[in-house]
């Protein structure tokens, strides 16, 4: 009794489509996360997004004047702001997804999104 497996064209199509779905899910899960962190700046005028990997200086307008945000060496910090006590400048540089700096008087919020979210381990137990 010959055992002939008959794989039909639709089977091939289903396999190919499934592989496509697997690939899409992999891109969806791991794709933009790897190293592609973004700097999101929210201010009175709207929201701006810059890559964390490119150095630049950004002047963000607010009610008191211009807040100077600098991206250097894959970190971002508020370098100057026309606020009274400069808490935002003192906050220093951030680089990990989820971190943020705010300058409340000038209504500027800087945060980092994407990238390796789990890079910093909070705690581990053995």
């Amino acid at each position: 009794m010959a055992l002939r497996m008959r794989i039909r064209p639709l089977d091939i199509i289903i396999i190919l489509v499934s592989m496509g779905i697997v690939a899409a899910s992999a891109i969806w899960a791991y794709g933009p996360k790897s190293g592609d962190a973004k700097v999101v700046i929210k201010a009175q005028g709207g929201e701006w997004i810059y890559p964390l990997s490119t150095d630049r200086e950004i002047k963000v307008p607010g009610p008191l004047g211009e807040t100077l945000v600098g991206i250097h060496n894959k970190t971002v910090r508020i370098e100057d702001s026309p606020c009274p006590n400069k808490t935002c400048v003192a906050a220093g540089a951030i680089s990990e997804a989820g971190q943020w700096i705010a300058c409340l008087p000038n209504q500027v919020l800087v945060r980092v999104e994407g990238g390796a979210e789990d890079a910093g381990i909070d705690a581990s137990v053995y």
Binding site: R8, S18, W28, A29, Y30
Partner: protein
Amino acid sequence: MPESTPQFTKAVKRASAADVTALLGAFCFFLSALEYMVPKPLPFMRLGIANLPILLATDLLPLPWFLALALVKVVGMSVISGSLFSYIAVFSLAGTLTAALTMRGGRKLFGRHISAVGISILGAMVSNAVQIVIASVLVFGEAARLIAPPFLIMGLVTGTLLGLFAEAFAKKSLWCASAKALLGKTGKVHA
């Protein structure tokens, strides 16, 4: 009851459907036990061998019996893995039922243009996708997408292998052929 009357044929078909469902259901229990013994790299990850009877039943059983078999599989799996009265049973139930209906629908829609391999992959992909969605709602939230790729790849591979086995088995098995004939399915009897 005289043989060859319509009532007699109907009675035979009904009795046969019950017999076949019971036998395949027992296989679901047995294969669930095998499944449970195989070590897995991730919790919830399954080979899906307990779906083999459902895959075979796609071409054999009338719809109500087919759904009954799917429920038997859910109960069997949950009893054996001890998760019957936990939220994990929700995963099993949703995954198995949607997969069963998809496989049935795929056969109805594509008929002879698709083999057990395609049907099996359809079921595996749908089952995994549904369970990932449920996981995102119940447990993991947005992070569920991180578990999607390994589960879908695993589903594709095991689904293909299971389909190949089912296709070969359905072709070669005398039991399958006689069950088909008893249940009045139009499939050719390869004896």
